[in-house]
């Protein structure tokens, strides 16, 4: 019973999110509206965490399984992959390092500035 109720709550949020995706003219996927709705419901205490957490934790623990079907889709994209291999590797590796550096340095600077002001 517990799971039926939890699944119903989560799917209801998905349903509202899909309606929002349809009616709001922004390039935002339904899942993002759903994520924000869920967060709002939890922070306003409209929805207690216990009402969804078991099902949510189960889904999130196995989220990698859900990405397998689209990843298998790369078998149809062998041509585009071959042609993209070099730019793909260069762009992904270089930008990952840049992002890591930017986030790390900026947050460290903000933290240290805060500490100095406290002292």
């Amino acid at each position: 019973m517990k799971y039926i109720k939890q699944i119903s709550i989560i799917l209801s949020i998905c349903l509202i999110a899909e309606l929002m995706e349809y009616y709001i003219p922004l390039p935002v996927a339904a899942s993002i509206y759903g994520l924000v709705l869920m967060l709002l419901a939890l922070t306003t205490k409209l929805l207690p965490l216990e009402e969804v957490q078991d099902t949510a934790d189960f889904l999130l623990n196995h989220i990698a399984l859900l990405f397998i079907p689209p990843t298998v889709g790369m078998m149809d994209g062998v041509e585009i992959m071959k042609q993209m291999a070099v730019p793909l590797l260069v762009i992904c590796m270089v930008t990952t390092l840049l992002i890591m550096g930017a986030t790390g340095l900026v947050s460290q600077a903000i933290l240290r500035k805060g500490k100095k002001e406290e002292a």
Partner: protein
């Protein structure tokens, strides 16, 4: 035999679940970021499909129940974020400032490199969500007209390279604060980076997993501005 297999809706489901299980046990035995259940599982399935000469479309149709769970699972990402809201309230400036600089760096650097390589719009928008968690990234790519498989691959490359290079890179840049390390790993390398951050320490892990969702949401907004540029 082949017709029997491919006509059964259970074929793709069984194949996917078994290959995922194999991937999970490989991950437990081999401590290397490439040996994750997503990549191991997907490669095994591709090999089976090629060996049996089954088309991707046939497979895709039979695993619809799995794909159907993706939106509910993404919605559930709100739960870890809610659990860590306390941290967000404690260090709002460092977290928002750090993640926002990462997201903007991602947008600008991907845009410039895509321009340099002369990528098409389809290729460019497939790579734009490369540092956000797969659940959110796939939806963004689809929405912008990208190739979802290409997005999944770029997300994997980012996660793997970020995890492998994190130690040297963070040391080189003298990023030593545990909070800053965690944020850097989560913003640049999503869930794979978070696994690494958890090895470094509890604060690093919590910060990294918080930054995954914050990065995802901020990126969705940023991408809607950057996607039309190419």
């Amino acid at each position: 035999m082949k017709e029997l297999l491919t006509e059964s809706v259970y074929f793709g489901m069984v194949l996917t679940l078994v290959c995922y299980e194999i991937g999970l046990s490989v991950k437990r035995k081999v401590k290397f970021p490439l040996a994750n259940p997503l990549l191991v599982g997907a490669v095994l399935i591709i090999l089976v499909l090629l060996a049996l000469d089954i088309e991707y479309e046939t497979y895709q149709a039979s695993v619809r129940p799995i794909s159907f769970l993706l939106t509910p699972a993404t919605v559930c990402l709100a739960i870890p974020l809610y659990r860590q809201l306390r941290l967000l309230k404690k260090y709002p400036l460092a977290i928002i400032g750090g993640v926002l600089s990462g997201v903007l760096t991602a947008m600008v650097s991907i845009y410039l490199l895509s321009l340099a390589f002369g990528l098409t719009h389809e290729e460019y928008v497939s790579i734009l969500p490369k540092s956000i968690t797969t659940a959110i990234g796939m939806g963004v790519s689809q929405k912008m007209g990208g190739v979802v498989a290409l997005t999944v691959i770029s997300i994997s490359i980012s996660g793997i390279s970020g995890t492998i290079l994190a130690d040297i890179w963070l040391k080189l840049l003298r990023i030593r604060e545990p909070i800053a390390k965690g944020l850097a790993l989560g913003t640049a390398a999503h869930a794979l980076g978070t696994a690494k951050a958890m090895e470094l320490g509890e604060i690093e892990g919590a910060m990294s997993s918080l930054s995954i969702v914050v990065t995802g949401i901020l990126s969705v907004i940023a991408i809607s501005f950057f996607a039309p540029l190419i």
